[in-house]
Symmetry: C2
Subunit: 218 residues, 2 copies
């Protein structure tokens, strides 16, 4: 599934985000953008930037530094993304390792989140806003991971938005944790396969390697 692959983040599918906004915002042609805030001469979108995307970027970039810091990203995603997911996204999209997200990096991040939102909506069959056990199985199977029922159950428990309860129905997995769960499965599976050179489903690992594999996963 191409949406799942990290490398698809920069893919262009000829789609436009929120077409309606191009008329709503036609009064601000990004090619001739003026600084949005006085005293920060030159603050404006890069040439040919999507105006809607630039608007989002500048909303998140609250100190108008031209760069989104972790705190700004977290504030923008507050109550929607847990810190580990935000850190995972920062690590994936802070391509120049500056510790902040510039506009082009932000465009990739936004596309990635939008793609995952489509995946999430697709597998959230009952439209509950969270992914339940059987929906998770279906999603992972469609990504090519044929995991045992035991592993699927452990993933469901670990990434559920709450713990299993004796009374309540098991908590589902919210969007941010669903993305993290899928990226973790991908990351650990790839780390395993890299060592499983004879493809027999067994690897030999040292304590150092073992811990590193875990600590490198989001």
């Amino acid at each position: 599934m191409s949406l799942y692959s990290h490398s698809s983040q920069y893919g262009h599918h000829g789609r436009h985000h929120h077409n309606s906004t191009s008329s709503q915002h036609s009064y601000r042609d990004p090619r001739y953008a003026q600084p949005l805030v006085g005293g920060y001469g030159g603050y404006g979108p890069p040439p040919n930037a999507d105006p809607q995307l630039w608007q989002w970027f500048s909303t998140v970039d609250t100190d108008r530094s031209g760069q989104i810091s972790l705190n700004e990203l977290q504030a923008a995603l507050v109550n929607e993304f847990d810190l580990d997911t935000v850190k995972m996204l920062m690590n994936m999209f802070d391509a120049d390792r500056s510790g902040t997200i510039g506009f082009n990096e932000f465009a990739g991040l936004w596309k990635y989140i939008a793609d995952w939102q489509n995946v999430f909506r697709h597998f959230d069959r009952d439209g509950s806003g969270s992914i339940e056990g059987h929906e998770l199985s279906e999603a992972l199977r469609s990504f090519g991971y044929n995991l045992s029922p035991r592993l699927l159950q452990l993933i469901e428990l670990k990434y559920a938005t709450g713990p299993a309860s004796g009374y309540a129905p098991p908590a589902g997995i919210s969007f941010d944790r669903f993305v993290r769960a899928c990226v973790v499965v991908k990351s650990l599976t790839e780390a395993f396969q890299q060592l499983d050179t004879d493809r027999d489903g067994w690897i030999q690992v040292s304590y150092q390697q073992f811990m590193e594999m875990f600590l490198r996963a989001p």
Copy 2:
């Protein structure tokens, strides 16, 4: 270090929490406690309960059900503990697997957090309120984990409250994530040692085992 061991949670060291409260609250003898809220006949501390602890419990138990749900626990710890740490604590202290925390389970949880707070303060040498790299190394070494510099660096990055930044000093590890990091190291090390029967520092694992080891860690 006994504080680190999960089994120490029920240990009694003859210490009293907040001695001052015993006089402040002497008007409410827990042995003769009355329901705190009308209409919930019988809501009150168990016999011989620590009155301060009961007060905390009933504050967290906002719906006066006599049981703390995940949502109540999270609300009480909001902005202080991330969801994965709260879930880890629930899994550790919900001894009867009811999905909620009763008063006796709460007493164990509270003691555990108080003990960890002492550990945290002890290793936060510069009193910054977060654990930095060298403080983390020292803490883990004192718990008996002689990890390589590479692993220590990965732990510091993974559990830091923010990502490493090109500009800012590296983010430290907040209390909740420090507890989780230590429990994760303990959990993974024990899982590894269980398979490393000849103690040579190498194990052979199947994909199923490998994934299970990670998914069972907090």
